[in-house]
Amino acid sequence: MLGALIIVFREVIEAGLIIGIVLAATRGVPTRGRWVSSGVVGGLLGASVVAVFAGAISDAFQGAGQELFNASVLAIAVVMLMWHNAWMARHGREIAAEMRTIGVAVSEGAKPLTALAIVVGLAVLREGSEVVLFLYGIMASGTSGSALLVGGLLGIAAGAGFTALTYFGLLAIPTRYIFSVTSWLIALLAAGMASQAAQYLNNAGLVVALGRTVWDTSWLLSEGGIVGRMLHALIGYTERPTEMQLAVYIATLIAMFLLMRFARYRPQQRVPAAAE
């Protein structure tokens, strides 16, 4: 039972972290509960569909279907995170100011939630399909299945608890800073996802250039342990990144930074944006 709990918990950590960050980043938006939960529900439905068709997906594209699927899902999530951060760069300060002065929810903040709901949905989809497959395997094998199933469900509950921990941890940050903190977290999250997508393309045999290992820090922090996995989900920690992964990681951070700079610029005001 404990084994099943740990396996499922490990799978849901990444989605849990992402949901926690999204909840913190949308603090003060009245409809966010609906958006985030529809992301979770959509992701779960998608995960079940993916699990059912796992065989077909795996066989597609000469056996590289699963890799291409994961790479696409990650790429879409990266684009959505960029969209969100660009939007926040433009409107975040007003929202934070309003939250401080009125102390109530902001009505205008509905726009970027589509992006974040999609990010939540995709995270749940990716991790969830593995959980669904694992739990299905338990049920299919029959023997002592119920104890394992309970373990699996407890693992999901632990994941939810972890989400809450992330969320309330981030809420401890003063309102003034919360959006810049979540923007940075989202930038690192996106960079990690992009580098992961690059590795999936390598596994698919599509982009094999720059495939040498840059460093090996497995002796220092194993990516298989809980801390390693959390850092992997949060900032894209990889114990043995390829040159391509490192390049993509840095490029994504630069792209995100430029995008946020660009979004902040307002032509109609004609005032240099030096007021930091």
Binding site: G55, G63, S129, G137, A204, G211, R212
Partner: protein
């Protein structure tokens, strides 16, 4: 300049041949990998077909090889790895980590 272009052209012709993957097979049965030790050539791309003969799905996972791949029950999946420096690279079946263990030896 022209020599560079020529060298590039030669590389483009030769690269696919050099990059052609070695084909190996790994079988999962009773949540064990056979062979548990897989010898591969160092510094080449290697293609491993993982055949899952169990009814339950398995996730072939290796941080060392940078691979994470779900193989549904009674089916098979292709894992592409390398080029690897000589050494030992362990992998597991994540859903049955106690028994499903193996190592890729690049030499």
């Amino acid at each position: 300049m022209r020599r560079t272009i020529f060298a590039l052209a030669v590389l483009l012709v030769l690269a696919p041949a050099a990059a052609r993957a070695d084909d190996l097979t790994l079988t999962i049965k009773g949540h064990h990998f056979t062979p548990a030790e897989l010898k591969v050539k160092a510094n080449t791309r290697v293609k491993i077909t993982v055949v899952n003969n169990d009814a339950t799905p398995e996730e072939f996972e290796s941080k060392a090889l940078r691979v994470e791949k779900v193989i549904p029950g009674k089916s098979k999946g292709v894992v592409r790895i390398g080029p690897l420096k000589p050494g030992r690279y362990s992998f597991v079946g994540e859903y049955h980590e106690d028994t499903a263990k193996g190592v890729v030896i690049a030499e």
